[in-house]
């Protein structure tokens, strides 16, 4: 780690680039350098008002009021920059240019203008033989628009922090000017230009990097606390992140002279990615070679998915791929070498939802739709802020930079050039197609479409390479391991088409990552056994937090990654589960869907919002389980019973944990109930035979029951609840004894408890042993059941039982049968064991 720090420090001489051209690598080609020249430092001011003179005055005044250090001195005079007029035509000329007759008219007008107009022409015929530029400038005035450009000094443009400050100040001044113009009723002043976009983009990037980083870190920390139920692992996780980030940063700065700001935005996703290895390691009970192999295969497939990005011609993606590749390698090495070898596994069960049909439906859809909707237009890179978009739209309206106008101008020269040349006595007349007339937008679009097609091919190659890697490691299982990723990719292709209309370059690039990461899940879920599900789920959540958050970033490039990965990762996870080989069947367990984290969350909910809210949540959980689990529905065809059960579990939870707001538990007014309470309070020692009708666990909420109850139960069967209770119980009114430890000594111990005035509790409907146990003591025996009368209210049903064992059992069975008949939906038996 120290080596990483040193490398990063030594490589600190880097430059952060912010331009869209640097992001897509347009600085190297000659044509693109022509496009860039002359615009990087030009700010365009646009003013509209009811009078052309007023517009011009506003712009002049604004310019004069700017600090000296904002503007190159020669820009302070009026008139638009003539260098930007290369291919500009007014609307009237644009119409005339489109027809042969119109072009002839333009030529005649130009000849008249040069020969006989009393005012000297603005440009020489060599520069403007058809007076297109002059009429364009005149049209601005008639449209009551003033357009003025000024140049930012190199000291401002070259320093991104200074540029952001200057642009922020300019925006503030414009806002103040517009506010002073009676809310825009007198004039509207706006600003645009490459440096303005650059500054705003850079500022947004910085803000969003900060949000994403803090969000990801907070999520990982929170998840760690929930998963591990302890903060002790957080320093180790933080160390993993630090090592991987430093390694990635060092590689980045060693390989590149400058780094694009977008790379840093993407880089925040590494936080969710590298933590996966940590979760897999810490959550697995066995640190064996199988786990190591799975981690290595997972890492290798992700690296393969990054390889095409490293070879991409887009600098920002090359940089991101280098950063991620090295960070992941460092993270894996750190986990394998530095993490503890022996750790108790933490349980974290899952729910799985079959979406195979969904993806199978979508997968062929993407092929039926065809590959034509794979294209990328410049809008997919960047959406400008609204204030700039309005100014840009006005410029686009006023300034005809389309290739169509340029073609028409070329025709004008071809058809009328000789005539004008002869009439004006010119030596030559030649149309030089300006670079800007090719349309930066069209150039960018062409480049992006080429890159998109290239990326589609590379994605296919990457998938083949990944498949062969899986074939090498898993042989015949390779197809099954690869299938979820392939299906998820196909589904995401279709989803993007449906939601966005086209699949662009950045969606495809995100699919590289999706392919590599989704295979990780399959590798672990198909080869790691049941224990691998939990760490894989944690890995999914952290990746979703890291990548899903990107969807909310304002840059389309970044949000494309968020869409593909935010949806694609959970989809591939579910598909991997659905296609996973069947695991050995577990014994039917009551606690199939219980989660220690879930219990903690529910307890927190209860403490924040009260018992009624908790009941609502419990009912929702019950309904979900009933809907999603076939086995639950077969055990209980009626939804009501499951909801009663989940609510009773909630009550059990709060009573056992000693919460403040407990359900109301009231004993019925029968003689037996009164006798029971009197015996308990007087410390006589009572044996309670309970059943699975109602919720016996809420008995201690009965105010009169202040004695300790000793309960014997199958500890492992309800281990999650029992562990929760042990963690939270304050009053210790219930002491749980595992039934598995029941032996001869238990009778003596129990005898001591009951003789000391405590109560003994055992279920009578789980075997006849309870009756023998009860009969061994010369203490009152009661049948007790806590029946829910309504939400949060229980009635304690009490019947005194005979001391003789057979009579005891008969009466118990009789009472139980009658209770089941009266309250069938509170008879919580889910299996055949009695």
């Amino acid at each position: 780690m120290l080596a990483n720090l040193l490398l990063a420090t030594l490589a600190f001489a880097f430059t952060i680039k912010t331009s869209i051209y640097d992001m897509v690598g347009m600085s190297s080609t000659e044509a693109m350098s022509e496009l860039r020249s002359g615009t990087d430092d030009k700010v365009v001011l646009i003013c509209t008002s009811s009078k052309a003179e007023r517009s011009r005055q506003v712009v002049m005044d604004f310019l004069k009021a700017l600090p000296m250090e904002y503007v190159l001195s020669e820009d302070r005079d009026s008139l638009p920059d003539a260098s930007l007029l290369a291919d500009k035509v007014c609307h009237e000329d644009a119409e005339l240019l489109s027809t042969k007759e119109g072009r002839a008219k333009i030529a005649k007008k130009a000849i008249r203008r040069y020969v006989s107009s009393p005012m000297p022409p603005m440009f020489s015929p060599a520069e403007d033989p058809f007076c297109l530029k002059e009429r364009f400038l005149a049209s601005l005035a008639s449209d009551r628009v003033a357009i003025q450009t000024f140049t930012l000094p190199p000291a401002v443009v070259g320093d991104i922090d200074r540029l952001i400050d200057v642009v922020d100040d300019l925006r503030g001044r414009i806002a103040a000017a517009n506010a002073a113009s009676a809310g825009g009723s007198e004039f509207v002043l706006s600003m645009t230009g490459v440096p303005v976009h650059t500054a705003i983009t850079a500022g947004e990037c910085r803000r969003q990097i900060g949000y994403l980083t803090w969000f990801s870190l907070a999520f990982i920390a929170l998840l760690s606390v929930f998963v591990f139920r302890s903060v002790k692992w957080i320093p180790l996780l933080a160390l993993s992140l630090a090592v991987s980030c430093l390694a990635g940063a060092a590689a980045l700065f060693l390989c590149f002279d400058s780094v694009h700001l977008m790379t840093l935005v993407f880089g925040t996703t590494v936080l969710g990615l590298v933590i996966d290895y940590s979760f897999h390691w810490l959550l697995s009970p066995k640190r064996d070679s199988a786990l190591r192999r799975n981690l290595v295969v997972s890492w290798l497939t992700t690296e393969i998915s990054l390889l095409p990005l490293i070879l991409s011609t887009l600098p920002v993606l090359r940089q991101t791929a280098v950063f991620l590749a090295v960070a992941l390698a460092a993270a894996l090495a750190f986990v394998l070498l530095a993490y503890p070898k022996k750790t108790k596994a933490i349980t974290f069960p899952l729910l799985t939802f079959p979406l195979l049909t969904f993806s199978l439906f979508l997968f062929p859809f993407s092929f039926l739709h065809g590959c034509s909707p794979v294209q990328t237009n410049p809008a997919s890179i960047y959406h400008s802020p609204e204030e700039l978009a309005a100014a840009d739209r006005m410029l686009a309206e006023k300034w005809m930079t389309g290739a169509g106008a340029s073609e028409d101008i070329a025709k004008l020269y071809a058809e009328q050039g000789e005539k004008v040349k002869a009439a004006l006595g010119l030596k030559e007349i030649r149309f030089v197609r300006p670079v800007a007339a090719k349309g930066p937008r069209q150039q960018l679009e062409k480049l992006l479409n080429e890159l998109t097609r290239e990326t589609l091919e590379r994605l296919s190659v990457a998938l083949v390479m990944m498949f062969f890697a899986l074939l090498f490691f898993f042989r015949r299982r390779a197809v099954r391991t690869f299938l979820p990723s392939a299906l998820a990719l196909g589904a995401m292709f279709a989803i993007v088409l449906l939601s966005e209309g086209v699949v662009n370059l950045f969606h495809l690039l995100a699919m590289f990552l999706l392919a590599g990461m989704s295979i990780d899940y399959t590798v672990f879920l198909h080869n790691g056994g049941k224990e691998a599900r939990r760490p894989a789920a944690c890995s999914l959540f952290t990746s979703m937090a890291g990548f899903g958050a990107l969807y909310f970033v304002s840059f389309p490039v970044v949000s494309a990654f968020g869409l593909v990965l935010g949806l694609g990762l959970p989809l591939s996870f579910v598909l991997a589960l659905a296609l996973a080989p069947r695991l050995p069947k577990d014994e039917e367990s009551v606690e199939k869907a219980v989660s220690p984290i879930g219990l903690e969350i529910l307890f927190l909910v209860y403490r924040l919002f009260g018992l009624s809210f908790l009941h609502g949540c419990a009912a929702a959980v019950g309904a979900t389980i009933w809907c999603c689990s076939g086995s639950v529905r077969s055990s209980s065809p009626r939804l009501r019973k499951v909801i009663n059960f989940t609510r009773s579990l909630a009550d059990k939870l709060v009573v056992m944990a000693g919460g403040r707001r407990l359900p109301k538990v009231v004993a019925e007014g029968s003689e037996d109930a009164q006798a029971f309470i009197a015996d308990v309070q007087s410390g006589k020692g009572v044996f309670v035979l309970s059943s699975h009708v109602g919720t016996i666990e809420v008995l201690t909420a009965l105010g009169e029951c202040s004695r300790t109850f000793h309960a014997w139960m199958d500890f492992d069967r309800t281990g999650v609840f029992n562990r929760f209770y042990l963690n939270h119980a304050k009053r210790n009114l219930v002491v749980i004894h595992p039934i598995s430890e029941f032996g001869m000594g238990t009778v003596f111990e129990a005898g001591d408890y009951i003789d000391g005035g405590d109560c003994l509790l055992m279920a009578g409907d789980r075997g006849d042993g309870a009756f023998s146990f009860a009969a061994a003591f010369d203490h009152p025996i009661y049948f007790v059941s806590c029946i829910a009368e309504r939400d949060g209210h229980y009635k304690v049903v009490v019947h005194r039982l005979p001391q003789e064992r057979k009579a005891m059992k008969n009466k118990y069975d009789e009472i139980l049968s009658s209770l089941i008949a009266i309250y069938p939906e509170q008879h919580y038996v889910w299996n055949d064991n009695k």
């Binding site: 052309a52 005079d77 020969v115 006989s116 440009f123 015929p125 008639s142 010119l426």
Partner: protein
């Protein structure tokens, strides 16, 4: 100098109320010959000016108090002066100068005055700010009782010479 300027102002005032024939010779940058045109100008001070070309094409430009009207073989086009702020400003300043305001062109042109050998006068207007100089380097007006010649030098070196011959007496 004051007398000189007064003569020039008076001549300009008279011109703005009279008609004249004009001939223009224009040497444009890049052109290998002089472009010649001729026509008439009709002025009604305070009302408007009609600049009519008769050679080599028929066309006219009329400036009224609030608009400019262009007539040629393509038809008639009217543009409000509010859309042509430069023309409107020049017209206002010219009217003010002709009314006797010597400082009418201050802030936009530097004015120098010269006395000619034949007793006439010459006024030279040079734009004050640099971007305007790119369009018009100088405007020279010479005359005696009436303006007789106007020479405009453009920023690119083109030169337009307009000579006037009185056509009708002032109304």
């Amino acid at each position: 100098m004051i007398i000189l300027l007064a003569s020039a102002v008076m001549a300009l005032r008279m011109a703005l109320g009279s008609d004249a024939d004009w001939t223009m010779e224009r040497q444009l940058k890049g052109s290998d010959r002089m472009l010649v045109s001729s026509g008439t100008v009709h002025c009604a001070m305070g009302t408007g000016i009609v600049w009519k070309t008769t050679f080599p094409f028929e066309s006219s430009v009329t400036m009224t108090t609030n608009s400019m009207v262009f007539v040629d073989e393509d038809g008639t086009r009217v543009k409000p002066l509010s859309d042509l702020p430069y023309y409107a400003e020049i017209r206002e300043r010219t009217d003010a100068f002709a009314a006797g305001n010597e400082k009418a062109f201050e802030g936009i042109f530097d004015l120098t005055r010269e006395e000619r050998e034949d007793g006439g006068w010459k006024l030279v207007f040079e734009p004050e700010f640099s971007k305007m100089k790119m369009l018009v380097r100088s405007v020279e007006i010479t005359g005696a009782a009436l303006p007789t010649n106007v020479v405009m030098q453009a920023g690119d070196g083109s030169v337009s010479k307009i000579s006037f011959r009185e056509k009708a007496h002032a109304r």
